[in-house]
């Protein structure tokens, strides 16, 4: 295999592994803040139990996000030297602001949030919890701004082959950024919600639930049932935006081979790029035009309009269907669980237990957010190919000139490490859920609080 393909696989493997963890921590930071505030308001120890248990899950996920993120900061240079040489004037400041406004903030206050309870006052500790959540969200803001700029570049001119910024506001708030940010933050909310709900359900099934389990489960189900419909709305708007700016991506993910009016929606089928058709397609007439352009008779551009400039069809065709399918399942499960909770609450005055089958479904969907998130990213990132900066810079032009055996060696090493870490992570989460008392709060009391005088 050539260095370009290996570099792409290596970067994709790395970023796929990395994104799993920020997707959890971005939203979980805000869950933790909520648990903390609820405890301060109600003084109910159950909220504190929820806070402590999930703080530990947060710390573990955060550590995995940090170490894989550091790898990425190096791979920009090792695998894509041409990218920073050509687009460094734009990508550089955006990445720089991420490090300066987000990384240090979250890393520093995480220490106080995790280990500072006996050393700082309750108020400072709450502030630290807030700053960690704020830092992770700021990080998402900057990196998604850069990612969106690569999809829908704006506010620049090309001088001597280099992208030079002209209007920074247009660069940061480029056309797809608001939609992508909303879509990603909601994806994080859903991933964290389902992770929390799933592990809590597992604790109830295994008899290892604590008071905090009920609180966290309820919070997660309510959050998921609010976030999921919003996610469909955000996804739809993001799709409209993509149709406007990256029509080739839409044509590929919908499997529209030729430009047509009143385009049908292909539910399933087997796309065949060589033959330029989708075999065994199950279609709904006019539906694609209706969904994408909000007009049943609208004309949609087909792949024939983008010779040599459209992404591979099959991967994003499938990834898109996985994303939408998992999202639909999440909506059904979230609403059904919310309804069950609401009904039980009315019947049994505060008893919060869901029926066993519902618990099994939730436990089975613990990592559903990961599946939807990864397939969504594959749609948008593979959908950007063959460009790195859409319409202006091709991926092949900026790849490393390193010999491919060297990349193959490191790729193998990364894959082994990541595979083992993923298995360990899931195993440890399960172990933690089953042994919550090993991870029970060891909260300091009275005089211990604030003794550092700060």
């Amino acid at each position: 295999m050539d260095a370009l393909l290996l570099s792409r696989i290596q970067f994709a493997a790395n970023i796929s592994f990395h994104i799993l963890f920020p997707t959890i921590t971005i939203a979980m930071g805000w869950f933790l803040l909520y648990f903390r505030i609820r405890h301060i308001k109600t003084r109910d120890p159950a909220w504190e139990e929820a806070y402590y248990f999930w703080t530990k899950v947060f710390a573990l996920s955060f550590a995995l996000g940090v170490v894989s993120g550091i790898v990425m900061s190096f791979q920009f240079g090792t695998n894509w030297p041409g990218f920073m040489e050509r687009a460094g004037d734009i990508a550089g400041p955006l990445l720089g602001y991420e490090v300066l406004t987000a990384f240090f903030l979250e890393a520093s206050f995480l220490g106080i949030m995790l280990f500072g309870r006996g050393r700082v006052s309750e108020r400072v500790h709450l502030a630290a919890t807030f700053l960690v959540a704020f830092g992770t969200t700021m990080s998402a803001f900057w990196i998604l701004s850069l990612n969106s700029w690569m999809q829908t570049p704006a506010g620049f001119e090309i001088v001597d082959g280099k992208f030079m910024p002209v209007d920074w506001f247009a660069v940061v708030f480029n056309p797809s950024f608001p939609y992508r940010l909303a879509h990603k933050l909601l994806a994080s909310a859903l991933t964290a919600s389902f992770l929390i709900a799933g592990l809590c359900a597992w604790q109830l099934l295994k008899g290892s639930a604590t008071g905090g389990t009920h609180k966290a489960l309820r919070t997660a189900i309510i959050a998921a049932s609010v976030a999921m419909p919003l996610q469909f709305l955000a996804g739809d708007m993001h799709g409209l935006n993509t149709l406007e700016h990256q029509p080739a991506k839409i044509a590929a993910l919908e499997g529209i081979w030729h430009t047509e009016k009143s385009a049908p929606l292909t539910l399933f089928g087997i796309p065949d790029e060589a033959a330029g058709t989708t075999h065994y397609a199950v279609k709904i007439p006019k539906m694609a035009s209706l969904i994408l352009a909000h007009d049943a008779n609208a004309e949609l551009k087909g792949l024939n309009e983008f010779p040599n400039a459209h992404p591979p069809v099959a991967p994003i065709f499938w990834a898109f269907r996985v994303m939408v399918g998992v999202g639909t399942l999440m909506l059904v499960v979230a609403w059904a669980s919310a309804w069950l909770l609401w009904r039980r609450r009315r019947l049994a005055q505060g008893s919060m237990d869901l029926p066993k089958p519902a618990l099994y479904v939730l436990a089975g969907m613990t990592f559903s957010g990961w599946l939807a998130t990864l397939s969504g990213w594959y749609v948008t990132e593979i959908g950007r190919q063959p460009f790195l900066v859409y319409g202006h810079l091709r991926t092949a032009d900026v790849a490393t000139t390193l010999p491919s055996p060297m990349i193959a060696v490191t790729l193998t090493a990364y894959l082994i490490v990541y595979g083992l870490l993923l298995i360990t992570y899931v195993g440890v989460l399960k172990y933690m859920a089953e042994h919550p008392f090993k991870h029970a709060p060891e909260a300091p009391h009275g005089a211990e609080l604030g003794k550092a005088g700060v």
Binding site: L60, D89, F104, I112, M164, L402, A413
Partner: protein, 336 residues
């Protein structure tokens, strides 16, 4: 060279920011990695727990200085970033895998089932070793201008052995400050054992540097520079013997002067850093690229400069605040 215009000064400012970030990284993550390298020498589970809890709240923020250093290289000097990182491709990968192992071991060793604790302790040590040795290798390789001849490789190997030794001294110094009782006595002994090998290696490297990089000789040994530069090796020697005095006199540690070990080691790091910076300047890739050739446009640098000027002081303030919160002796690690 006339250095009056903003366009010429700005790359220098970023060179300083990058250098200071990397210096901060080497010192701050240096003591973390040093503690990791010393971990197998601890005698009991309690000692291991205390050692790790002494760095637990800090490591994450410490590692962020590496991201800032590489980030500035990437952001401000993209030409050099691609060149340096491609030349150091394999050691970078080794370091990253080491940092991954070390970073996840912090969490896994307290959260995984108890029977896996020894495994994660070993991973913690192995990760620290891979990371520190590959950092030494990279530094050596960088100084030789990525020379692939036997002399260059031998030089890189020398630093790959020396840097972990220096980190061990730093880590032992940190433990002397942050722990008490038996563990503190161990730390003093560890510092005493590693001191001479490290000192010898540092002198050997300094003597070998002109061999691999002839340009250095003229910079250091011409008159009057040689007199202006004499304080650097002299201060290093004083710091070295200050460490030696403290670690060979247990009563000095008991009297509360254990911090001298850490402070003197930090001083040696700082002096070595400035000596190196003086040798290399104004190149960013030795013999191939100067700071100005590697920099991005003035406009983009200005945009980042505004961010750096506002956020870096704030970062430094809350970093100091964090160290104040966790001031004093480390206790067994609880998530309190």
């Amino acid at each position: 060279m006339n250095m009056t215009t903003w366009a010429e000064v700005l790359p220098l400012i970023f060179l300083a920011v990058m250098g200071l970030a990397l210096l901060a990284y080497v010192i701050l993550d240096g003591y973390d990695l040093g503690v990791g390298l010393l971990l197998p020498l601890a005698e009991s589970k309690e000692q291991k727990d205390t050692m790790i809890s002494s760095i637990g709240p800090f490591w994450d923020a410490n590692e962020t200085w590496l991201v800032l250093g590489v980030g500035v290289l990437l952001v401000a000097f993209p030409m050099a970033h691609g060149l340096v990182l491609q030349a150091l491709y394999l050691p970078v990968a080794v370091m990253l895998i080491g940092l991954i192992l070390r970073g996840v071991a912090f969490d896994f060793r307290v959260k995984a089932p108890t029977k896996y604790v020894p495994f994660w302790n070993r991973a913690f040590f192995a990760g620290s070793l891979l990371a520190s040795a590959s950092q030494g290798w990279m530094l050596g390789s960088y100084i030789t201008g990525f020379d692939k001849g036997w002399l260059g490789l031998a030089f890189s190997l020398g630093i790959a052995l020396t840097l972990p030794a220096a980190y061990i001294l730093l880590g032992a110094g940190w433990l002397i400050m942050k722990t008490e009782g038996e563990l503190q006595e161990h730390a003093v002994r560890w510092a005493r054992r590693v001191l001479w090998p490290m000192g010898f290696a540092l002198v050997a490297i300094s003597a070998a540097t002109p061999l691999v990089n002839p340009g250095v000789v003229a910079k250091w040994f011409s008159v009057p520079e040689v007199f202006g530069l004499m304080p650097i090796p002299l201060s290093c020697a004083i710091a070295f013997f200050a460490v030696r005095w403290v670690v060979t006199h247990p009563n000095v540690v008991k009297a509360g002067y254990g911090w001298v070990v850490f402070a003197s080691t930090v001083l040696i790091f700082i002096l070595a850093f400035f000596g190196l910076a003086y040798s290399i300047f104004p190149d960013i890739v030795i013999g191939r690229m100067t700071v100005w050739q590697a920099a991005v446009s003035t406009g983009s640098l200005t945009v980042i400069f505004v961010g750096v000027a506002i956020t870096l002081p704030v970062i430094i303030i809350y970093t100091i605040y964090m160290y104040r919160v966790f001031w004093g002796k480390a206790r067994a690690l609880t998530y309190n």
